[in-house]
C-alpha cells in the first residue's frame, strides 16, 4: 500500500481478503460447525465472491466508495449474522474515508475505529464475548497506536494484523455470550471464534499487501 489510500489500493485489499476467505472457507466452516451453524465459511465466501464480481463489473474511483460498495454487497449476500456485521464494518469504514479519491494513510486508523464502533453498536458485543470484536478491537487499537508513533502504513498494518491474530487466539478459551454460539454455554469454551478468525484474515490481507 502506498502512503495514500487510493481506490485501487482498497480494491486490492478487498480482493486479497476475498482470496484468503476462499482459501480458508473450509476452516471457517469447521470452526463454525463447532459452535455455530457451520455456515460462516460458505457465507463469507459467497459474500466476498459477490464483492469481487461487483469490483470486476465497476470499480468506484473513491477509496471510501470501494468500501461502502463492499458493505452493501455483503449485507445482501452473506445471509448470516456476518452479513449485517461485516456489512456495517465496511459501510462505516467507507463512510469514514469520505468522498475523496485518495485519502491520507492516517485515515485508515480512523476508518477501522469507525468500523469497530459500528460493529459494536450493531452486535452489542463487548470485548470478551467471543466475537469478531475480540479481534477487531485490538487491531484498531494497534493500528491507532502504530500510526500515532509515526510508523509507515505497512508496518502499522502489520502490527494491527498481529494484534488481530492474538485477539483471535484469545477467543478460544472464552465463553460465548453472543450469537448462536452462546446457546452452547460452557461448551463454546475451547473453540476459536469464526468471526474473529475472519477479522484476522481481513487484517492479514492488508498486511500482505503492505509487504
Amino acid at each position: 500500500m502506498s502512503e495514500n489510500l487510493s481506490a485501487a489500493a482498497m480494491a486490492q485489499w478487498v480482493r486479497q481478503f476475498a482470496t484468503l476467505i476462499a482459501q480458508n472457507r473450509e476452516h471457517l466452516t469447521e470452526l463454525d460447525a463447532a459452535i455455530g451453524d457451520a455456515d460462516h465459511g460458505a457465507n463469507m465466501d459467497r459474500g466476498m465472491s459477490a464483492v469481487v464480481k461487483a469490483l470486476d463489473d465497476a470499480q468506484p474511483t473513491a477509496a471510501g466508495a470501494v468500501l461502502t460498495g463492499v458493505g452493501m454487497t455483503l449485507i445482501s449476500t452473506v445471509g448470516g449474522a456476518s452479513g449485517p456485521l461485516f456489512g456495517t464494518l465496511f459501510l462505516r469504514m467507507g463512510t469514514a474515508l469520505g468522498d475523496a479519491g485518495e485519502v491520507p494513510s492516517q485515515e485508515l486508523g480512523t476508518a477501522l475505529r469507525a468500523g469497530l464502533e459500528g460493529v459494536v453498536a450493531r452486535g452489542k458485543a463487548e470485548l470478551g464475548d467471543k466475537t469478531m470484536v475480540d479481534a477487531l478491537a485490538p487491531a484498531a487499537d494497534a493500528l491507532d497506536a502504530a500510526l500515532a508513533e509515526g510508523l509507515p502504513l505497512a508496518d502499522a498494518v502489520a502490527r494491527a494484523s498481529e494484534a488481530a491474530a492474538t485477539g483471535r487466539d484469545c477467543t478460544t478459551p472464552m465463553l460465548a455470550r453472543k450469537g448462536r454460539a452462546s446457546y452452547l454455554g460452557e461448551r463454546s469454551v475451547g473453540h476459536q471464534d469464526p468471526g474473529a478468525t475472519s477479522v484476522a484474515l481481513l487484517l492479514e490481507a492488508a498486511s500482505e499487501l503492505g509487504r
Binding site: I75, V78, G79, G80, G83, P84, G87, R122, C170
Partner: protein
C-alpha cells in the same frame, strides 16, 4: 395517524418458505380484510439468510401512513433489520417502524388480526408481544420475565386513581401486598400507570404489576368490574394511602427489582448476574458481625522511613503466615490444586522486585500504606493490561494480596465474620472464601467478580453456591432481605415470590435428589455401560477424610498423603504414633485397599526438624523420595510403622517423585529391612508415583520392580509442560488433557498392560472431561477427593469404554488441551461416550 389505513407488517426470516407459510397461516385469520404483510426472507428460494437491503425495501412497501410492525426470527434477522432501518433515507418513515420481539408465527397471527381490526401500530406491537400468553396460560406455564402484557378486561364499573407514595415505588413487597388485597375479592381489577402509559395489567398478578414500573410519584389508575368492583377500588386506594403497609425501612428498597424477575438489573447497571458455583439457596442476606473494615489508605504522617519499612515487613509477614495456614487448611479440607492458588499469593508477597519497589518508595518518604498501595497498583496495572482474558483476571489475585496487607497495616482483622445466610459483597479474595464458615454461609453473591476467579474455584471446591457480577445494587440489600438464587444458572431473586420460592425449592430438591441418587449408588461398583469395572478410590490427608471416603462409597484409598503427620510440629512423629494413625486410616475402610505414599516434602514446605538448604527451584530440587533417601532416618521410621500396620491390614506402599530405578531399588531395600525389623515379611504391594516425565518414558525399566503405578497428573502436567500450577502467568498451560501429558499416560498404560495396575490420583481423575480420556487410555483406577467419589462413579456409569478408547486415540493426535476438551464435549454431547 390516518385512521383508515391498516398498519403494515413485515416478516423477516432466514427461510423464505417459513415466512411464506407463516403469512399464509395469518391470512386465514383475516377473512379477506386488507392488511399489507411483506416478507423479506432467505437469500433465495433455498438459501437461508437475511438481507438488509431487501428488508429495507419490504419495510418501505408496507410502511403506509399508519406505519409498520416488523417481526423477526433470530440472530442475523434482528441485526439485518436494525441495519435496514439505518439504511432508510426518510427519518419520518423510520419513525413509523416498530421492531417487535414477538415470536414470528404466533406474533404474526395476532398482529395481523389486530391490524385488520384497525389498531394503531403500538397496539399491534403490544398484541404481538403478548402472543404467547394464550399458549402459556393454556399450558400452565408463565414466563418469569414475560413480555409486558396489555390486557383489556370487561368495561370497568368502578374507577379511581392513586399516587405512589413510597420512596421506592411499587416494588416487590408492596406489589405483593396489593395483589393479596385484590385476590380475595370477587372483582376483576386492572391497573394502568397513567404517568408512563404502561398497562393495563391485572392487579392479581405480581409479575404483571411489577411491569407497570410504578415509581414514586407515579399516578396509577385502578379499574374494576364485577360484583365487588367498588370495594376493590376503595380497598386498593386505601392501601395505597397507607403506603401498602410498608414498615419504615430506610435503605431497604434501594434495589428496585420486581419479584419474579431474575433480578437485580438495577438502574444504570447493565450487569447480568452470572453463575459461578452451582447450588440452589433460599435464605436471608447475612449481616456483617465484624466491624466494617477500613480499606482506605490512611493519611498518616510517614515519619521515619525505617519505622515505615518495618511496618511493611511485619504486615507482609502477618499476611504470609495467615496465607500459609490457609493453604494448609485448604489443601487438607479442599484439595491441593485449590491450595496452590495461595502459592501465587505467597509468591507475590515474597517477590523481591515488588518489595524493593515498596522499600524504595518508603525511602522516598511515603508512609507504609501509601508505598505499599502505590507499588501494588503498578503491578495490578501490568496484569490488567494483558490481552489474554484468563491472565488478565489474575490481576484479581494481586488486588487480593494488596488488600490483605493493607488491612494488616491498618490493624484490621484478616477476615470478616458473618451471620448465617447469604453473604453479599462487592468482591471477595480467595483467602476470604477459604476462611468462610461453610456452615453459616449458605451462598455468596458478588456485585462484581468472575466465574473463573480463584475465589470462585475455591467456592466451588468448598461447595458454596455463588452468583457473581450481580451489579452494585445488591450491596444495598440490608441484612435480613429474603433472596433466592441458583448458582448454576446465575439467577438471583430479591424478595422472591411464592411461585419463585416454589420453583427453586423444586430445583433444589432435584439437585439434592441427584446427589442422593449418586450417593445411594456410590456403594455400588462403578461399571461402564459396556461392563468394564473402574475402581474409584479416595485421596485422603487425615483419618477424618477416610471416614468421609467410606460414607461416600469409595472402593478404597488410592492415596494417603502422610505429610499431614509430619507438618507443623517441632519433631517427627514416633513410630508408635504413626502406626496408630495408619491403623485408624485403614480401619475406616475395612477390607479395602489403602495406598500409603511415603513422606513427600521438599524445599517449598520444609520441616522444621529437617533443615534443608534453600533451593533456587524447590520443585526441581530435593523433594519426595530424593529427600527421603538423602535423610533416610525418617523414611526408615515411616516404613517400620507401615510394616507394623501391614501385619494387620491390607496396605500398599508407594514412593513419590521417583526418577530413576536406583531410587526405587534403594527404597525397596529399606522396605525389606523395615519389614525384618517389624518382625516378618508382611504382604504389602509396592508401587511408585509417576510424576516425573522421565519415569513415564522409561516405565519399562520400573515395571519389573513394582506391583502398581499411580500417575500423579498434577505434577506430571507441571513437569511435562514446564508450567507451575500456582503461577498465574502460566496457569492456562497447566492442563492434564494436553496431548503431551496424555501421550505419557498412554505410554504407561500400554507398557503396563494387564501385568501392573495403573491408577491416576491427580485432579484430572475427577474432571468429568478428563475421565473418559483417562479410562479410554487404559486407566482402571481413579483416586479422587472423598467428596467427588459419588459423582465420578456416576460419570463412569454413563460411559461406553469402546467409545472412550476411540476418543482417547483421537485426543492423542490433537494440538492442545483445548482441542481435547472440545473433542470430549462434542463426543459426549453427541451421544458418543455417554447417553
Amino acid at each position: 395517524m390516518a385512521p383508515h389505513e391498516a398498519v403494515g407488517i413485515v416478516v423477516v426470516s432466514h427461510s423464505r418458505q417459513l415466512a411464506r407459510a407463516a403469512i399464509a397461516l395469518a391470512g386465514e385469520m383475516l377473512n379477506g380484510q386488507p392488511v399489507v404483510i411483506e416478507a423479506a426472507a432467505g437469500l433465495d428460494e433455498s438459501t437461508f439468510g437475511t438481507d438488509a437491503v431487501r428488508i429495507k425495501e419490504a419495510i418501505e412497501r408496507a410502511n403506509g401512513s399508519s406505519g409498520v410492525v416488523v417481526l423477526m426470527d433470530m440472530g442475523s434477522a434482528v441485526l439485518s433489520t436494525e441495519l435496514a432501518l439505518e439504511l432508510m433515507a426518510d427519518p419520518a418513515a423510520r419513525e413509523r417502524v416498530i421492531l417487535s420481539s414477538a415470536p414470528i408465527v404466533e406474533g404474526l397471527i395476532v398482529a395481523a388480526v389486530a391490524a385488520a381490526g384497525g389498531a394503531d401500530r403500538h397496539e399491534v406491537a403490544a398484541e404481538a408481544s403478548s402472543a404467547l400468553m394464550g399458549k402459556a396460560t393454556h399450558l400452565g406455564t408463565t414466563t418469569a420475565d414475560g413480555p409486558p402484557v396489555e390486557q383489556t378486561g370487561p368495561a370497568p364499573s368502578a374507577v379511581a386513581e392513586f399516587t405512589v407514595l413510597g420512596d421506592h415505588g411499587l416494588h416487590a413487597r408492596p406489589a405483593a401486598r396489593l395483589v393479596g388485597e385484590v385476590r380475595g375479592l370477587d372483582a376483576s381489577v386492572q391497573l394502568v400507570n397513567l404517568t408512563t402509559g404502561a398497562g393495563p395489567v391485572p392487579a392479581n398478578s405480581l409479575s404483571r404489576v411489577a411491569i407497570l414500573g410504578a415509581l414514586h410519584g407515579h399516578r396509577i389508575e385502578v379499574r374494576a368490574s364485577g360484583r365487588q368492583a367498588q370495594e376493590a377500588v376503595e380497598q386498593v386506594v386505601a392501601l395505597a394511602a397507607r403506603r401498602f403497609d410498608e414498615p419504615d425501612h430506610p435503605g431497604r428498597d434501594d434495589v428496585a427489582v420486581a419479584a419474579d424477575t431474575p433480578a437485580v438489573r438495577a438502574v444504570g447497571d447493565a450487569r447480568q448476574p452470572m453463575p459461578a458455583t452451582p447450588g440452589v439457596v433460599i435464605a436471608e442476606v447475612a449481616g456483617l458481625l465484624t466491624a466494617d473494615v477500613d480499606d482506605d489508605v490512611p493519611e498518616d504522617a510517614p515519619g521515619d522511613p525505617d519505622v515505615q519499612w518495618r511496618r511493611v515487613v511485619a504486615a507482609v509477614d502477618d499476611v504470609r503466615r495467615g496465607l500459609e495456614q490457609l493453604r494448609e487448611r485448604t489443601r487438607r479440607e479442599t484439595g491441593s490444586s485449590e491450595a496452590a492458588i495461595f502459592d501465587a499469593h505467597l509468591a507475590l508477597l515474597g517477590d523481591p522486585d515488588v518489595l524493593a519497589d515498596v522499600e524504595a518508595k518508603v525511602r522516598e518518604g511515603l508512609s507504609a500504606a501509601r508505598a505499599w498501595t502505590t507499588a501494588l497498583a503498578a503491578v495490578h496495572t501490568q496484569w490488567s493490561q494483558i490481552p489474554d482474558p484468563y491472565l488478565r483476571e489474575r490481576a484479581a489475585d494481586v488486588a487480593a494480596v494488596a488488600q490483605q496487607v493493607l488491612r494488616a497495616l491498618n490493624g484490621a482483622p484478616a477476615g470478616d465474620e458473618w451471620s448465617t445466610g447469604v453473604v453479599v459483597v462487592d468482591d471477595i479474595t480467595p483467602a476470604d472464601v477459604a476462611a468462610l464458615d461453610a456452615a453459616a454461609v449458605r451462598a455468596l453473591v458478588l456485585a462484581h467478580g468472575s466465574p473463573s476467579s480463584h475465589a470462585a474455584i475455591i467456592a466451588r471446591a468448598r461447595g458454596i453456591p455463588m452468583v457473581v457480577s450481580a451489579g452494585s445494587a445488591v450491596l444495598d440489600l440490608p441484612a435480613g432481605t429474603a433472596v433466592a438464587l441458583d448458582g448454576g444458572t446465575g439467577e438471583l431473586f430479591v424478595d422472591p415470590s411464592p411461585e419463585t420460592i416454589e420453583e427453586l425449592t423444586v430445583r433444589a430438591a432435584a439437585l439434592a435428589e441427584r446427589r442422593t441418587q449418586q450417593l445411594a449408588m456410590a456403594g455400588q461398583p462403578a461399571v461402564s455401560r459396556d461392563g468394564v469395572h473402574i475402581e474409584v478410590l479416595a485421596n485422603v490427608g487425615s483419618a477424618a477424610d477416610t471416614t468421609t471416603a467410606a460414607s461416600n462409597g469409595a472402593d478404597g484409598v488410592g492415596l494417603v498423603r502422610t505429610e499431614f503427620l509430619f507438618l507443623d510440629r517441632v519433631k517427627p512423629p514416633e513410630v508408635v504414633e504413626q502406626e496408630q494413625v495408619y491403623d485408624a486410616i485403614c480401619a475406616a475402610l475395612p477390607g479395602r485397599r489403602t495406598v500409603f505414599r511415603t513422606l513427600d516434602v521438599g524445599g517449598d514446605k520444609p520441616l522444621s526438624y529437617l533443615p534443608a538448604p534453600a533451593e533456587q527451584n524447590p520443585f526441581l530440587g530435593r523433594r519426595g523420595i530424593r529427600l527421603s533417601l538423602d535423610r533416610p532416618h525418617l523414611l526408615q521410621q515411616q516404613l517400620t510403622a507401615l510394616c507394623r500396620t501391614a501385619r494387620r491390614m491390607a496396605i500398599d506402599v508407594m514412593f513419590p517423585m521417583v526418577t530413576s530405578v536406583d531410587e526405587l531399588l534403594q527404597a525397596r531395600q529399606m522396605l525389606d529391612d523395615a519389614a525384618l525389623a517389624a518382625g516378618g515379611t508382611p504382604q504389602l504391594r509396592v508401587g511408585i508415583m509417576v510424576e516425573v516425565p522421565a519415569a513415564a518414558l522409561k516405565i519399562e525399566s520400573f515395571l519389573p520392580h513394582v506391583d502398581f503405578v499411580s500417575i500423579g497428573t498434577n505434577d506430571l502436567t507441571q513437569y511435562t509442560l514446564a508450567a507451575e500450577r500456582g503461577n498465574p502467568a502460566v496457569a492456562a498451560l497447566h492442563d492434564a488433557l494436553d496431548p503431551g501429558v496424555l501421550q505419557l499416560v498412554h505410554r504407561v498404560c500400554q507398557c503396563a498392560g494387564s501385568a501392573v495396575d495403573v491408577a491416576v490420583c491427580g485432579e484430572s481423575a475427577s474432571d468429568e472431561v478428563a475421565v473418559p480420556v483417562l479410562v479410554g487410555l487404559g486407566v482402571r483406577e481413579l483416586s479422587v477427593s472423598p467428596e467427588a467419589v459419588p459423582a465420578v462413579k456416576a460419570i463412569i456409569r454413563t460411559l461406553d469404554l469402546e467409545r472412550c478408547r476411540a476418543i482417547a486415540q483421537t485426543a492423542l493426535t490433537l494440538r492442545d488441551a483445548g482441542e481435547v476438551r472440545a473433542l470430549v464435549r462434542r463426543a459426549t454431547t453427541a451421544g458418543g461416550a455417554t447417553p
